[in-house]
């Protein structure tokens, strides 16, 4: 019984439910939101420490022994993702207090935010592939509702693409799960991994691997499946954009890491080339898309796509070092990308627009904001000693070790292009003076949607930005201990026997489960159930 692995899922559900109880009381909802986020950060830290010392923390829901019940398992990768999600969640909770319009709060912004967090946490912690699908859907439904809060035309148009493509991905995922169950007769990921080695290798395994790759590729916004992302991420309120940018695509990437290291590890040789070039094209198309844009959040949206390429590249190179680098890239990107979106929200608040051409002069006006942007943007581009440099450095080094020179060359060139986009934002927003024709009414005391003055709450927007910028700096400075954790993740993912043993108990009980391996599609998958003691 290890409660710390279930609490990160239960707490956001609980705080979401509590804030639903206070539907009419805005102050109470706001309080519950932030208190829930703080508690979530606490339990995530607890889980992280527990995982650091034990390696794996598992819990069988309802005490049904694996593989019959649903397993919750945290290995180092899950624990790190949960911790980062909790940090982003808390930053968003505070930031939302200042930026969320009264109308949005009235229609359940905070409960939805917590539901989204619960979905993300569940996806990170579950050890059951159908359960993973369920958490994906929880996350998606919450994100659908958050995306259209406000109901403007652009939001509707973006949401139709977002909803359609994400549902399509879900159905592909579900189909693949169904076929996988028909093949191995179990849904527990560790058990699937065991039986996958036993199953006869027809072409079906490759087909399934590709289906999972497409489904998670859509969710992670990888080339050529990313078009829903830049079409929708710049439309909702900025806090929602930032939350999506920090969390949602990374869940897809996480699922890829999990499935391809645990279940389809033998098919990696076959898929590696596809994934490698997919990653390279993702990086290039994302960064080129960003170069053409002059809207703050659209540039950032395209850069999400570009950065996803680095993470998938880490997986595609498929060495422990490369996987460590990929996870490093995820961690770094969660912090930095969220922060850039938060900064775009502040500049919007100050100057009333997201169009770069109409902005300017913020370096003189808000030097500290400029510093925070500078740190995050240069971290994104991979300038030492910030967090992005180390992520890129590890991936490049791993790539050189396996002699994937072309792809590594592309990755480095994309870093340069990222710098170009970031310098563009810097020049337009911070450096050049405010254009004459932009009469920002009363820049220092803007009004919210409902006309109330928003100046006093500016510190609530600054606080998360500063903390996250500091985080990026700290990840860079403390790169060595973090790299140590990342190497642990790389080893754990590369050697899935530890994961399998942690879920199924000692190796002996795993043998019991394997007494009757089901064969072929037509055989009933009931074997697993019949052996239940």
């Amino acid at each position: 019984m290890r409660p710390e692995v279930a609490l990160p899922v239960l707490l956001p559900l609980l705080s979401g439910a509590i804030s639903l109880l206070f539907w009419r009381s805005r102050p109470m909802q706001r309080f519950v939101a932030v208190a829930g986020n703080i508690a979530l950060l606490m339990v995530s830290l607890w889980l992280f420490v527990a995982t650091l010392s034990d390696g794996y923390v598992t819990m069988q829901m309802g005490s049904w022994p694996a593989p019959f019940g649903i397993t919750l398992i945290a290995d180092l990768l899950s624990a790190v993702m949960v911790l980062m999600t909790a940090i982003i969640g808390l930053a968003m909770g505070i930031y939302s207090l200042a930026t969320t319009g009264r109308g949005h709060e009235k229609f359940g912004y905070y409960p939805l935010m917590h539901l989204l967090l619960a979905g993300v946490m569940g996806a990170f912690l579950t050890g059951d592939i159908f359960n993973l699908y369920v958490w994906f859907e929880v996350m998606l439904v919450a994100s659908f509702a958050l995306l259209i809060l406000g109901g403007e035309r652009a939001q509707m148009e973006g949401a139709i693409k977002y909803v359609t493509l994400n549902l399509l991905a879900s159905v592909i995922f579900l189909t693949a799960v169904g076929l996988l169950y028909g093949m191995v007769g179990t849904l527990n990921m560790a058990d699937i991994a065991l039986r996958m080695d036993e199953a006869e290798h027809t072409g079906m395994v490759e087909v399934l691997a590709v289906m999972f790759m497409v489904a998670f590729g859509i969710k992670a916004a990888a080339f050529p499946l990313f078009f829903w992302l830049p079409a929708s991420y710049h439309t909702p309120p900025v806090a929602v954009s930032a939350l999506f940018a920090g969390l949602l695509t990374k869940v897809g990437v996480y699922a890829m890491f999990r499935v391809f290291t645990l279940i389809f590890d033998q098919t990696m040789g076959y898929l590696q080339d596809i994934m490698l070039w997919g990653a390279a094209f993702t990086m290039v198309t994302g960064v080129l898309g960003a170069a053409a844009q002059y809207e703050f959040r659209r540039i950032l949206s395209f850069h999400i796509v570009s950065q996803i390429g680095y993470m998938i590249l880490g997986l595609a190179l498929y060495t422990p070092l490369a996987i460590a680098g990929g996870v490093f890239a995820i961690v770094h990107n969660m912090v930095v990308k969220t922060n850039l979106f938060l900064i775009s929200g502040i500049t919007h608040r100050l100057q009333g627009t997201y169009q770069l051409k109409k902005m300017g002069g913020l370096y003189r006006e808000r030097p500290w904001l400029a510093v925070a942007f500078f740190l995050s943007a240069f971290s994104l581009a991979g300038i030492p000693p910030l967090s992005g440099f180390f992520a890129k450095f590890v991936i490049v080094r791993a790539g050189l070790e396996v002699e994937a020179y072309v792809v590594i060359g592309i990755a480095l060139a994309v870093g340069l292009m990222t710098l170009y986009s970031m310098v563009k934002i810097w020049n337009e927003v911070f450096w050049k003076s405010l254009p004459e024709d932009n009469h920002v009414p009363e820049t220092t005391t803007p009004k919210g949607d409902d006309g109330r003055l928003l100046k006093p709450s500016l510190w609530m927007m600054y606080l998360p930005v500063m903390v996250l910028a500091l985080c990026s700096l700290l990840i860079g400075v403390l790169a060595e201990p973090i790299m140590w954790v990342m190497m642990g993740i790389g080893d754990q993912l590369f050697e899935p026997s530890g994961y399998i043993e942690a879920v199924l108990g000692v190796a002996a009980s795993a043998d019991d489960v394997l007494l009757e391996p089901s064969s072929g599609v037509a055989a009933p998958g009931a074997n697993a159930e019949e052996e239940a003691p």
Binding site: F130, I148, G151, K161, T175, G178, Y181, G182, G525, A526
Partner: protein, 115 residues
């Protein structure tokens, strides 16, 4: 039974994709509905179809006799149906709102956010 189901599922997938590629947003949602139904039927079929053998444990035994139907895919399909129902309810409301805002049942008129 299985070959028939396989053909039916294939037809459902094909129809769903065809509907989703139309310009009308209503047909888009119809496509999504068919798609989720196809996936549910697929899970139901791949797990093996067994007739007339409910997975009940006879009194005094610790496990059901062999050859009973597999209850797990049915539970899975049930969950998937509920999820699909909720999500599609949302999608229907979404296209209604989108129709109100855009005043057209046409995806080609919803390209403002693309460029």
């Amino acid at each position: 039974m299985e070959p028939l189901m396989a053909v039916a599922i294939g037809l459902l997938y094909a129809t769903a994709i065809f509907m989703m590629l139309r310009r009308s947003i209503v047909k888009l949602v119809i496509g999504l509905m068919l798609l989720s139904n196809a996936a549910n039927l697929l899970i139901f079929t791949t797990a093996g179809m067994t007739r007339g053998a409910p997975p009940l444990i006879p009194e005094g035994m610790m496990q059901p006799p062999s050859g009973v139907a597999d209850p797990l895919p049915q539970a899975v399909v049930l969950t998937a149906i509920v999820i699909a129902f909720g999500v599609l309810a949302f999608a229907v409301v979404l296209i209604r709102r989108a129709y109100e805002v855009v005043k057209a049942d046409d995806l080609d008129k919803m390209k403002d956010t693309d460029t």
